[in-house]
Each structure stands twice: as C-alpha cells, then as structure tokens.
C-alpha cells in the first residue's frame, strides 16, 4: 500500500465537483494529513468533464502523481478520462442507477462499488446530497473516520442552518453503511491514518490575497479573468474588515488606472489579471513606472497566446513581463514558487513597490492558483510581516525637498535613485506627475540632459535594489552535485519531489528555484561549477533559459512542457534523467 493516497471526484461541470472535493480535502487536512489538490476543468460552466483530485499523505507533499486509488465517478467519461491513472485494485464508486451510469463496465482488476447515491441521499433528505453520500462511501473504503467529515460539512453548510448540516452528516453515514454492508472489507484495503496536526489548506490566489491584506494593501481593482479571479473573490468582503476596498472595474484598462489613482493617494494598491489583461494594462504600466508610482500588478499566467487555453497551465508571459511596454521601463518581477511563497512574495512586492516607487509584477501561474495545499499555520506567521514604506515625507521634512520657491521635487535626483514621496494632502507637497518626460518637479521637459538624468535615476533604483536586497534563489538537493537544475514559478514542488526519485536512480542534482525574475540572481558561479545545467519551465521556447544564457554566456539544456498540464514529480524525474544523459 502506498504511503500517499490519491483520490478524485469527477463528473460534469455543474455537478458540484469542486465543493465536494474541497469538503473531503478539508476533512483530510483537519485530520492532520497533508493534502495537495489539482483540478481538471474546462472553460465552461455546465457540461464538460471536470474533476477535483486530491493527493494525501501524512508526510509533506508538493506535487501530483499519475495514480488514482479511489475515484468517485459521476459520469462514464470520468472513468475514461482517468483510465491511465487507475491501477489494479483502484476503487471506483459510482451510482449504477443513474441513467448514464447503467452500462458502465468496471475495468479488469479494479473494484467497482455500485452505490445508489441518489436513492440514499433522498432517504437522508434530498437528492442534492448524493455527492456527500459518495464521500461517506469513500470513508468506508479508506477507513477514514467519518467524524472528520462532520466539521467540514459544518463549515460548508453551517450558514444554511443546523438541519442542513445534520442531513448531510446523515447522508454521509448512509454511504458509509451501505458500503460496509454490501462489500467485503478485504477488497478495500486502504487506510488513511490521522495525526494530531492541524493544517491550513489554501491555494495560491488565496495566499496572494491574504498576503496583500497582511502587507496593508487597502485598494484592489480588477476585472474577472481565469485564473486570477480568486484573488479578487478572496479580497472581497475581507479587505473591508481592514479598512480597504475592492472595485470590479469595467475592464483591465480601468482596473490598473483605478489602482494607479489609489496608489497616488498613498494607498497600498494592487490589481491582478492574467495574460490578456496584462496586454491591456501595458500602456498604463509605462505611466506607473515613469510617474514613479508604487503599484503591485499580479499576473496569474495561463496558457496563451490570445485567449489560448484559459483553464490550462503555462508560464508563457515571462517575455511580456520583462519587455512589455514601449520605451524602456524599470520594473521588478517576483515569481513565487509555492503556495506559501505566494503569500510572502506578495508582502515583499508591496515593500519593493513603495521603497523603490516602481511597479512590481507579481507573477504566479494557473498551477499555483488552483492548487490547494496544506501548511503548518505558522507558514503564514503574521508577526513576521514587515512593512517598508520607503521615502515618505511629511509636513516637517518636506522642506528638505523643495526648491527655493518652495516647490516640491517628486523626482529629485538622488544617489540611490529614490525620490521623496508626499501623499496628497501634505502641505507644501502639491505637484504634477506625468507620463511625459519630466524634470525634478515633475514638469514636462525635452531637455536632453534632464532626459538622460531622469532615465538614469529611474534605472538607478534597480541598481540600488540589486545591491541592497537579497535576490538569492531557493536551493534544494545536493549543493555539491555536478548537475544543476534551475526552475522558476510553480515547478519547485514537483522538482523537490523529483529529487527522491532521482536519488533512487543514483542521479545527484542541485536544484535552484528562482523567485526573482528581475532583478534576478547572478548564477554565473553556479553555472560554472556545474557540469550540466538544465532549465525547467512550462513554456515552449524556454524564456527563462534564454535570459539565463544571456546572463551567464553559458548554453543550457531545457525541459519544456506546454501541453497545458503542470509537471508531475515522477515524470519530471524521468525527463531530467534523460536530458542529463542526452
């Protein structure tokens, strides 16, 4: 029996797959098990196959694997879609009375549990609870104490009243009892141990939203787009508790301009979108940078170009983030590598934005956005959050940054490139900001010398930050290994787990996971020390590999995945082995 256990519920979009999956995932997490979820979904609301998959173990897990031990199949297609992940002994729970499931054939060697989900749900109070009956059945299969499900059900249905919660509890027990009565225990030899730990379970979008609030973000404007919408959903109703506000704008152009306005008022503000929205925001991005406005712009990447595959994974926007926008624009680009890092990098993004009065791209991806993962709560230790607001002047200190005519200098030429900042309302600070090239006062200029000085000043902020801040990559594996594997974004988890597979095969590697895209760490030494370098990313052309080759003047090998599916640990291990020996 494997140490980790994989199960899924699948059906048609609209079947309540997501919420049912989440109820069980939460129950596992509360029972002290680690959980890592993934979703198969299509870009439509009703109809179309969709599944919620959960990998769970008492040990830490950070990736998905190609294996399913228990599958709750609400449609025949659910079985077809997952055939290659099912194995001998896999259990398939289905409702043979459902019209579409009557002719279902359970593949050789697998165990089919035909449970009248709808009928039992009706007995408990309503057909709508049939998915919960299935969860009860899954508890029977896995020896998972059904009491753990109860608190999850309460969390999900609590605001609908105690009666609904009780009915659901009853429904779950009906599923459990049915399986215990009708099937032999020997066929169902899975055991889900519980522990005393209490984990939190959340996804990358939620972690970004939480990070924003922790960092004192007060203003969010956005326009719905998969897979960034959950950031807005998370903030809505929560940020208000901390004195903030969320606006659903009419489009991305408005979203970034609203956020820019709020930032100029002095609020920490943010917008989040995905590729197509980034394209629309690009013109204003230049204004944000030129007017030296602190702003966090989050790009939760999905598969492009154009509308591409909106519900699929890709890391294809890197070039746009690095180079997007006309003219030359200083920027920071942070790319969290895990769900927990989504939180911390968001906090950092706000600090960098204000310290350097520069737009910061915070780039996550679909895999991080839809993946829910368990953590020890102190992975989000709020006491460790630090706020750096940079060079803000008040009524007393403003005099140091004025001309003899008492005009404030918002673009003062300083050694570190960072100018004073006066929030509107500050006496003596009135000034104009513009996207036109300007002098120290913010006034339009085409003076050749001032142009050069202002461009250099803005660039100097990046140079200052490069020296002042820590841009180190995250390191895993054996630091003395000859083989170096480099990655960015969500691939870290799969890569870290791949290390164990590689070790079994006697392949020794050093892994660097880079959360800073610009400025980024200088990896020249690491590249030189390595025999072979492989760069892993979810795009076709190797955009990060290109910049690293450019930085280090060293050719690297590449592993690129761009079929819309994230890397899996076992698959990645095989890829790395093959690439290294090629």
């Amino acid at each position: 029996m494997p140490a980790d256990f994989n199960w899924a519920i699948g059906g048609e979009a609209g079947d309540g797959i997501d919420s049912t999956g989440k109820i069980f995932a939460q129950a596992l997490s509360r029972a002290g098990r680690h959980v890592f979820t993934s979703k198969d979904f299509a870009s439509r609301i009703r109809g179309g196959y969709t599944a919620y998959k959960v990998r769970t173990s008492v040990e830490d897990i950070q990736s998905v694997v190609d294996r399913l031990d228990v599958l709750i199949a609400l449609t025949p297609r659910t079985i077809e879609e997952n055939l290659d992940e099912l194995h001998e002994g896999s259990v398939i729970i289905y409702d043979g009375e459902r019209t579409t499931m009557q002719d279902v054939e359970i593949p050789e060697g697998m165990v089919g549990l035909n449970v009248p989900l709808k009928g039992l749900a009706e007995e408990a109070g309503g057909a709508i609870m049939r998915n919960v009956v299935a969860l009860g059945a899954a508890c029977a299969v896995t020896n998972f104490p059904i009491e753990n499900l109860d608190s999850s059900l309460k969390k999900r249905f609590g605001d609908k009243g105690q009666a609904i919660v009780d009915n659901n509890k009853k429904a779950a027990r009906k599923g459990l009892e049915y399986v215990e009565e009708e099937y032999d225990e020997e066929d169902l030899d899975y055991d889900l141990d519980t522990t005393d730990n209490d984990y939190v379970l959340l996804n990358g979008d939620e972690a970004i939203g939480m990070g924003a609030i922790a960092a004192g973000c007060k203003f969010y404007a956005g326009y719905p787009i998969t897979p960034a919408t959950d950031v807005m959903t998370y903030l809505t109703g929560r940020i208000e508790r901390f004195g903030g506000h969320v606006v659903q704008a009419e489009d991305e152009l408005a979203a970034i301009n609203l956020a820019l306005g709020a930032a100029r008022s002095g609020a920490r503000s943010m917008t989040a979108t995905s590729g197509p929205g980034i394209d629309l925001m690009t013109e204003t991005f230049g204004l944000v940078a030129t007017s030296e406005t602190p702003l966090v712009i989050c790009d939760v990447m999905r598969s492009g170009p154009s509308t591409g595959m909106p519900t699929k994974q890709e890391q294809g926007d890197l070039n746009t983030l690095l180079h997007g926008g006309h003219g030359e624009v200083p920027r920071f680009i942070l790319a969290p590598t895990t769900v927990a890092e989504c939180f911390w990098k968001t906090v950092e993004a706000f600090n960098l934005a204000e310290q350097y009065q520069t737009p910061v791209y915070l780039t996550s991806d679909l895999a991080l956005a839809v993946t829910e993962q368990t953590f020890e709560p102190d992975a989000f230790d709020m006491d460790a959050v630090e706020i750096e607001r940079g060079n803000v002047v008040d009524e007393e200190s403003i005099g140091d940054h004025q001309t003899e005519q008492e005009q404030f200098k918002p673009h003062e030429l300083t050694d570190d490139g960072v100018s004073p900042r006066a929030f509107p309302g500050t006496a003596g600070g009135a000034h104009m900001s513009t996207g036109l090239e300007h002098d120290e006062l913010g006034r339009r200029t085409e003076d050749t010398e001032m142009r050069v000085k202002q461009v250099d000043k803005r660039d100097r902020k990046v140079e200052t930050a490069r020296e002042r801040e820590d841009w180190s990559p995250r390191e895993f594996g054996n630091s003395d290994a000859e083989n170096l594997v480099v990655s960015w974004g969500s691939n870290e988890g799969a890569l870290v787990e791949a290390l164990a597979f590689l070790e079994e095969d006697g392949v020794d590697v050093r892994v660097l996971s880079v959360p800073y895209i610009f400025p980024r760490p200088d990896l020249s030494e690491e590249f030189e020390a390595a025999e072979e370098v492989v760069v892993v990313e979810c795009n076709a052309t190797g955009q990060f590999a290109d910049v690293l080759e450019h930085d280090t003047l060293t050719r690297v090998k590449r592993i690129n995945k761009y079929n819309g599916v994230r890397f899996k640990a076992d698959e990645l291990a095989t890829d790395i082995k093959e690439t290294l020996s090629a």
Binding site: A262, T284, G429, M432
Partner: protein
C-alpha cells in the same frame, strides 16, 4: 480650507502653450475660480488630466495632479477619491479623450457616481494631433482624415450621461466666464459625479464651432423657467436636435456618492507597521 486661498494659488508658474484665443484658457480659469470659491486649496486638490491640448491643463494648474494616458483619466480620478475621500478631485480632458478612446470609462464613471467633477473641453475636434474629426464633430465636418465629413452622427454626451444614470449633467461655454464658473462650482458641490461638457472652441482647427456660433446659438437655461430636478424635462432638452443648452440640465437631489454607499470615509494611506491587527484570523479561516 482658508478663505485666503485665491484662485491664482491654483496657477502654476508654467506659461500655457495653448494657441492664443484657445477656449481652454477660459475653461481653466473658471475651474480654478470654482475650486477656490468652494473652499479648496492646492494641497487638498487632486486634478487628473487626460491627453490632448485640453489635458495640458494639469501642467498649468498647481495642485496634486496626474497627467495620465489617453482616455483613462476617469478611473484614475475614481481611484484617487476612493483611496482618499478627503481630497477634492477634478478630472479634465477633451472630447476625443472622453468620448472616443475613453467612452467606455465615461459610461461607467457616470454609473459609479464617485463624488468628483468631470470637465470636458469639447471643441469638436482633435486639437493636439492637429485637426482630425472627434466623436462630437458634425456629420459633414471636413478634416484631413474625413475629407467628406465623418458621415456618422456625433456622440451626444449629455444624452449618454442621462441614459447611463447620471446624477448631475451640465453644459457651459468657456467664454461666458461667470456662468461657466458658477456651473463648475455646482458640479463640485454636487454629492456624486458632476459632469460638465464645456464648449471650449479650438481657434486653430475648427472654423465651424466657433465662439460666434456658440454665442449665438446657446440657450441659457437660467433665462427660462427650468427645473433641473425634472428628469423628463432633462430628457427633452438633451435630445433636442434643434437647440443646445447652457446650465445645469439635470441634478438628482437624492444622489448618494459611491464613497458614501461603500462607507469609504477615511484616507487609506495610513497603515500599520506590521500585519494589521487580527490578521491571524485570516489564516485560521483556512483550518
């Protein structure tokens, strides 16, 4: 703020580069006087300007200000005001800026009803790009890019505003200094989105919609027995194809600004040193 504030305090020491005689001079003077008259000073005022000759206004005025990208001034203004409701926010731009590239934002700014004023310098032409047709140009107005006229009806900004649910709609004329100032003042005082379309002639590129034309054709609602709170009357006036009006065409006395509706009453720039109090609850929600 203090009564010592004079309208010239809102003037920057930059000399406008507008063509002599441009309507924007009068428009700007009226705005500055209205701001001073309503008790504001440069340090509590935020002016957001669009792109165009009209958009240069931010440079010639003295206040906190931003000169944005073409067509996007309204969302910037809304963001400024939401994040600090204590500021007096005024957005200004041209007819091309507001009704062409920014038309979508116009409709939504009207709906949003943030408490700010929006002054559009309508010269029925693109000035800064040297004389192309604008969305308010007449159907037969000949320009280099429309040699036979645009051959499409002009946008009717007042009707668009009314249809979008505006709570304050006014029209003024830059050379009628007193009326213009008075109308902008009413827009500032309005609790919600105060929209003023100002005829601000372009003496260089528009020889049809001239000072003389507006002086002769504009009907001042102040000279009539007109009730601006009557939406039906407003509908008749804004859809009147024969005449153009000056004055407040519509004002909803019951207007409640966006900020009031959403309980935004204090500046958002103050934040805690670390995570805000109670933030750990956010983590506990995920148990």
């Amino acid at each position: 703020m203090s009564s010592q504030v004079r309208f010239t305090d809102f003037k920057s020491d930059k000399q406008p580069t507008w063509c002599p005689g441009c309507g924007d001079f009068g428009t700007m003077n009226g705005m500055m006087k209205a701001l001073a008259e309503t008790g504001n000073d440069p340090d509590n005022t935020f002016v957001v300007a669009g792109i165009g000759c009209s958009g240069k206004i931010g440079t010639y005025m003295h206040s906190y200000a931003i000169h944005g990208v073409h067509g996007r001034a309204l969302p910037v203004g809304a963001g400024v005001k939401m994040a600090n409701p204590e500021l007096e926010v005024m957005v200004a731009g041209g007819d091309g800026d507001g009704y062409s590239i920014g038309a979508g934002h116009f409709v939504h700014a009207v709906r949003r009803n943030v408490d700010m004023s929006y002054v559009v310098m309508d010269n029925r032409i693109y000035g800064l790009t040297k004389g192309q047709a604008s969305p308010t140009s007449r159907e037969d107005f000949e320009t280099a890019t429309t040699p036979e006229g645009p051959k499409q009806p002009p946008v009717n900004p007042l009707a668009l505003a009314l249809a979008s649910g505006a709570t304050f709609i006014a029209q003024s004329f830059s050379s009628d200094a007193l009326r213009h100032q008075e109308i902008v003042q009413k827009a500032i005082e309005h609790d919600g989105f105060g929209f003023v379309n100002v005829f601000s002639p372009c003496v260089t590129f528009n020889d049809v919609d001239t000072y003389d034309y507006f002086r002769d054709s504009l009907v001042d609602l102040a000279d009539e027995d007109y009730d601006p709170h009557d939406r039906e009357a407003a509908k008749d006036r804004v859809l009147d194809a024969e005449k153009e009006y000056m004055g407040v065409l519509y004002q909803d006395e019951d207007s409640v600004s966006y900020e009031s509706q959403h309980g935004l009453d204090s500046p958002m720039h103050e934040i805690d040193d670390g995570a805000p109090e109670g933030a750990m609850d956010l983590v506990r929600e995920f148990y």
